[in-house]
Amino acid sequence: MAEAEKKVERPLSPHISIYSWQINMLMSIVHRITGAALYLGTLLLAAWLVAVASGEKAFALVNVLFAHPIGKVVLVGYTWALLQHLFGGLRHLLWDTGRGLHIWQVNALSWLTIIASIALTLAVWGTGLYLRGVL
């Protein structure tokens, strides 16, 4: 009887806390987080459009907010989130066709997603600043 009360060390299925990190699981989580961020970020687009439609004073106010250091961080972050979600989505569309599902392809596509999103974010802001004559 005493033996039955002894705690048996049963194997547990692996979960996030003890799972060795893989690039594709990070990209999967980031895809969901960026999606949720973009969801709230549509308010930025709405605010900008409403400001332009409302008049010069509202437009100037929104520009001041967007030009604030916090505003800039949010806008650059929003650009990256948009591109990260876009490239992540492309990856998912490819997977939907049943292609690119070998482990090495999954890993390569996941790395490509993060590299492409960062590179294009830099390119977009670089082009914008260049056109403004800042760069």
């Binding site: 999606g35 549509t42 439609a53 056109l131």
Partner: protein, 126 residues
Amino acid sequence: MAYRTPLARVRGLGSAKEGTDHFWMQRLTAASNLVLVAFLIVLLVRLAGADYATVKATLARPQNAIPLLLLVLSGVVHMRLGMQTIIEDYVHAPGRRIAATMLNSFFAAGVAITCVFAVLKLSFGG
């Protein structure tokens, strides 16, 4: 052993009676968002630092207003479906889940109508 009737099977709509509608609309709007988001980024980069009159005139042009309207519609359908999935994954209490699902639709509709109203006002409001 299948308990479903042959008619239910051939309709393929499943227990939610929506079939693959959620899956398909998410992919359809993903494809349209690809093109429309690229358009938005180019438009915004071109407008970087532009004065009020230029921004207003640019957004009022049909070749910019129409893609913007398409982006808003395609975008909110996509984001509403995405947030619905997140809610279904994480919000389990029935009351909170219904409330969150409703708020999700209200938010998407609110953002859509606000953006559409602003773009149309720029085009037609003078």
